[in-house]
Amino acid sequence: MRAPYLAPLLIVLCGAGPCQREEREVRPDPAAVAETDERVALSTITAGPAAPVVETSGKGRDYETNAYHLSQGKTLYKWFNCNGCHANGGGDSGPPLMDDKWIYGGSIENIVAAIREGRPNGMPSFRGRIPDPQIWEIAAYVRSMSGNVPAAAAPSRSDSLHARPAENRQTPSPPVPGGSTPPSGLMPE
């Protein structure tokens, strides 16, 4: 337990001026590892004049604004072979993640659902394969690829060849639902 020894040092350093340290939930409480239950819609319309019913916990914002989670997400993105299908955000057999076109919704809750459930045209389901907090970390990192997380928290470098400007330099491109052409009239995406 090194924390008690570090604490006085931090108090001394922070005494000189404002200081806000980012909190890192390095190893989440096992009780919290159970699957989260966010209520999101895949459509922007509903029966009736109002918007679809969406109830989210706000947990997504905690992940998206946290540099540690985003950094972990970037590492896990490769460890779980996300880059094999989506490259460094430009896409391959899977769609690009750095643009503003979102077939199944572009909110972090939508992305968590897509990773966990899979999607019909080739996205595998990772339920039971990736611990829930790590799915959130990957989803937060995916949001950073299109510039939809704070630049101060987004990763600033890669360990491999220069594929594209770093995530923290990405111009924000807010999600636009749909926008891609289905491969055939018989099998809409």
């Binding site: 299908c85 490259a87 057999s93 690009p96 750095m98 019909p120 045209n121 594929a163 052409t181 055939s184």
Partner: protein, 573 residues
């Protein structure tokens, strides 16, 4: 002049019943109504929308008075009635492949064509099936599952039918899929034999008849011992390209794909039997010989390209040979009875290799270009799709030249660690491609087989990803990724006619004699494939590593064409 063996290239009956035209894979038609003198007047006879706007790599077949064409996923088979004006649809067959298969197709959801024999159309589906369809009615005769998409297996190749068997293999070299080829009974689809291309000799069907020419391919269980422990189980060596058959020798020739993963540091050894070619007994599958074009492949150089069977006089001796424009940038001439390499001459700018040692058969790699962890190796030529990818060349029986549609690309490459997770990509490399010397990205080259040297070249702005055919009218037909379908004087290399189709062309032309007795030329337009996935799959050009690095070379391509899926058929007015 080289000639194909008569048994593998019988006299032309005016039909086009298999993508490669004949078992010798020459893609040459004896029809000569359309020739160098009148081709400039070629005009559209009819068109047909496939209804699918992904990469159309398939070949339209003509059997009797019917045309057959198969689409990319969802692999719909259409029959068109050539006796009626406008060639209306006779029927369609929908195999309804699993949509999830699209997620394990490395390089667009393509299909390379159907094959006809004895009243049936045979083809593969993306979700791992081989189907036989009644050519008259469109009724399903049989449908068997041979691949499992949950482990990353798909089927994209055009099967070959010889005598009573249908031969097909799996795709999935980018997913750690263990490659195989199998012979199915044309009658009911049951498996006659199945040969893996990695693993113990008994799985590879290597027995006492196996006599490879070079010492490097001789030994016991090399499919195990040339790999780190158990790595052969995810080792690739898939069969997704072209098959040839020599009826006189009763030998089937098939290439084997790249070893997996791309990161070669994870698989020290020669990685048998990947990136090479097998000659197998067509009835039993027993291996007769093997030659490895790219031992311990470093750059995704699949050995699946077309094998053109020719008989020629080589240094005064009559030889039965097999000609192979290979992904590693050499045109190989092999003795097809023994697997001996007679010559291997470059047809692409090479920086990563220095020729082939004809004594040992080994490709000489340049050590400075060998990939290492945590280092970007620059200026590697040719690239991962190779000097030439799957798109087949054509041998003209008339000129004795081979017409090779190919790339002109180089790349930067960095290997990295990768986890094997079944059903997800197993690659471990980041790539950036760019144009080779001259700045053009594609070439149509005429190659003198007998003298192993180039004759002429036509540079193209984008990679040439379509196949080529030749005709007795002295013509070569091919298409470009920006949509031009071209007829070239086979001797002079001059473009005599061109037509701009709706989308880019990556398909295989065919030509046939219609029910009216006149010659027609057919091509599918609709861009995609690995090279065109930036358009077909709406990729983001800001990421150069997208589509395994191909996007870096194709950033301007979305401004040149859009998606499509249209058949064009041409005739003289």
């Amino acid at each position: 002049m080289p000639v194909p063996p008569a048994s593998a290239a019988p006299p032309d009956d005016g039909q086009w019943t298999a993508p490669a035209k004949n078992h010798a894979n020459t893609r040459y038609s004896e029809l000569d109504e359309i020739d160098t003198g009148n081709v400039a007047r070629l005009t559209v006879a009819f068109t047909f929308s496939t209804g699918v706007n992904r990469g159309q790599e398939s070949a339209p077949l003509v059997v009797g008075d019917t045309m057959y064409l198969v689409t990319p996923y969802p692999n719909i088979l259409y029959a068109l009635d050539l006796t009626k004006p406008g060639a209306p649809m006779k029927w369609r067959y929908e195999p309804k492949p699993a949509a999830a298969a699209q997620g394990v197709a490395c390089c667009d959801v393509v299909n390379r064509g159907p094959t006809y024999a004895d009243g049936r159309i045979f083809y593969t589906t993306l979700d791992g099936h081989v189907v036989a369809v009644d050519a008259a009615t469109g009724g399903e005769v049989w449908k068997v599952r041979v691949g499992d998409i949950n482990t990353g297996e798909t089927l994209t190749m055009a099967p070959l039918v010889a005598r009573d068997k249908v031969y097909a293999g799996n795709s999935g070299g980018e997913y750690g899929v263990r490659g195989w080829i199998q012979a199915l009974s044309a009658e009911d689809g049951s498996t006659v034999w199945k040969a893996y291309n990695t693993g113990p000799d008994k799985d590879v069907l290597i027995g006492p008849e196996f006599k490879p020419f070079y010492a490097m391919d001789q030994g016991v269980d090399l499919g195990v011992t040339t790999w780190p422990p158990d790595a052969w189980q995810q080792g690739g060596g898939n069969v997704w390209g072209w098959l040839s058959f020599d009826p006189d020798l009763n030998l089937l020739y098939h290439g084997t794909g790249n070893p997996g993963p791309w990161n070669a540091e994870l698989r020290p050894g020669d990685n048998k039997w990947t990136a090479g070619i097998f000659a197998r007994d067509a009835d039993s599958g027993a291996a007769r010989w093997f030659y490895q074009f790219s031992p311990h492949d470093l750059y995704d150089w699949d050995g699946i390209n077309e094998n053109i069977l020719l008989d020629l006089t080589w240094q005064g001796q009559p030889r039965k040979v097999l000609v192979r424009p290979e992904r590693n940038g050499h045109v190989y001439v092999l003795d097809r009875t023994t697997g001996e390499v007679l010559s291997a001459e470059p047809f692409h700018h090479l920086t990563a290799t220095r020729g082939v040692d004809l004594k040992t058969g080994r490709l000489n790699y340049v050590p400075e270009k060998a990939p290492q962890m945590n280092r970007v190796v620059r200026d590697i030529c040719p690239t991962a799709p190779g000097a030439k990818d799957w798109n087949p060349s054509s041998f003209s029986h008339q000129t004795g030249l081979l017409y090779i549609p190919h790339n002109n690309l180089c790349m930067d490459w960095q290997v990295e660690s990768v986890s094997y997770i079944a059903g997800t990509p197993y690659v471990g490399a980041e790539v950036r491609m760019y144009p080779g010397p001259g700045g053009h990205r594609g070439v149509l080259a005429a190659w003198d087989v007998a003298n192993a040297k180039p004759v002429w070249e036509i540079p193209e702005k984008f990679p040439v990803w379509s196949g080529a055919i030749t005709t007795a009218g002295g013509l070569v037909f091919y298409g470009t990724m920006d949509g031009w379908f071209k007829a070239v004087d086979a001797r002079a290399g001059k473009v005599l006619w061109q037509f701009k189709t709706a989308s880019g062309i990556i398909g295989q032309p065919t030509t046939y004699r219609g029910p009216d007795g006149h010659q027609y030329v057919a091509i599918l337009s609709g861009v995609g494939g690995w090279a065109g996935s930036v358009v077909a799959a709406d990729l983001d050009v800001r990421d150069g590593t997208a589509a395994k690095g191909f996007v870096n070379a194709m950033r301007d391509f979305p401004d040149a064409t859009t998606k499509g899926g249209t058949l064009y058929v041409f005739k003289l007015p």
